[in-house]
């Protein structure tokens, strides 16, 4: 049975809470809301390999950011274990369900499709495309662009930064191209 706290949150609760991250992090220690820098910090901590991008004091510059990411991970754990009912399904629109079935995805349950993102998906090309190529492009692209959705689309746009506007337009051009042109060809 779904109880009140297991219901999904509407946009007008979620959006403002995400936006609140920006002034909160500035207030705590003058930090800019961003997540993808953690990928750089993790590279610097493990395989810096003499590459200039990874030669810095990652503990001093990135320590706060890694703590923040650890919090996000913990929050995901808490929400999924306490605040979601068993057998949770995301209530996407009928049109999206139809499109995804046409794309060959039959099981639309869970937070993510098991056919693309479960461990068993790694036996298929689609699974490697989604998790492997998708992850790789997210990592390469966010560092090249100097930020991801949090750093550019929320933090950067809210501070009226032109570079962030260009990056966010790029995010959508890439996403639309993938969804409407490439995925129908390769899935």
């Amino acid at each position: 049975m779904t109880t009140l706290w297991q219901e999904p949150w509407p946009w007008y609760v979620a959006g403002p809470l995400i936006g609140l991250m920006v002034p909160l992090l500035l207030l705590i220690g003058g930090k800019s809301f961003g997540i993808s820098s953690n990928l750089r910090h993790l590279c610097a901590a493990t395989v810096p390999s003499g590459i200039p991008l990874f030669q810095y004091d990652w503990k001093r510059d990135g320590g706060w950011n890694l703590l923040f990411a650890a919090g996000v991970l913990l929050g995901g754990f808490i929400a999924a274990s306490v605040l979601l009912p068993d057998g949770y399904t995301v209530a996407i629109s009928a049109a999206t369900q139809r499109d995804l079935r046409a794309l060959g995805i039959g099981d639309l349950s869970g937070l993510v499709p098991q056919e693309l993102m479960g461990w068993q998906a790694l036996a298929s090309a689609r699974g490697w495309l989604t998790l492997g190529a998708g992850g790789f492009l997210v990592g390469f692209g966010s560092r090249w662009a100097g930020g991801c959705t949090s750093g550019h689309a929320i933090s950067g746009l809210a501070a009226f930064q032109l570079p962030s506007l260009i990056a966010v337009i790029g995010f959508f051009v890439g996403g639309l191209l993938m969804t409407h042109v490439i995925m129908p060809l390769v899935f």
């Binding site: 929400a79 639309l108 997210v138 890439g174």
Partner: protein, 166 residues
């Protein structure tokens, strides 16, 4: 002497204005970073923005959910920053708060090229870096493959940085 110590020292610009040595975050600030992250992780799950399905729905323009989340987040973030600035609020460590700046490059190549590459990945994976961490916590353990791939992408960018247009 270990190999690491013999490497050439920083050429890369710091991510944030470099704090002076010895003035790292206090324990209270460290706890606050984790707590704020926990809140964000919970929001990512409860609003379903970490869901591959929601990202597909967004790129297919079949629901306003994601757009309304992003738009209202932006509004609150912009308002919050203006308030901090106008009221001349200082951060907990007593420093003046600087509004984050992104440096424009001559033709903005890094922003539109890097941004488009990121978008291609976002469309495929249905998760940006924040949701990768939240999904890992939510028990989608196969996201370790996405995280390792993202680290490989970040590393390769670092290795190629001087040869790419910015």
């Amino acid at each position: 002497m270990t190999r690491r110590q013999s490497l050439p020292r920083p050429i890369a610009p710091p991510l944030d204005p470099a704090p002076r040595p010895g003035d790292g975050p206090t324990l209270l600030a460290q706890v606050a970073y984790v707590a704020v992250g926990v809140l964000l992780g919970i929001v990512f799950v409860k609003s379903e923005v970490l869901s591959w399905y929601r990202i597909q729905e967004m790129f297919r323009f079949q629901s306003a959910h994601m757009y309304l989340v992003i738009a209202s987040a932006l509004a609150v973030a912009a308002l919050g920053m203006q308030l901090l600035r106008r009221l001349d609020v200082r951060s907990w460590d007593g420093k003046a708060i600087a509004i984050p700046q992104k440096d424009m490059t001559p033709r903005g190549a890094r922003y539109w090229l890097g941004g488009t590459l990121f978008g291609l990945g976002w469309g495929l994976l249905g998760a940006c870096p924040g949701p990768i961490f939240a999904l890992l916590g939510a028990g989608v353990t196969s996201m370790t493959v996405a995280l390792l791939s993202a680290l490989a992408g970040t590393w390769l960018y670092g290795a190629m940085q001087s040869r790419l247009p910015h």
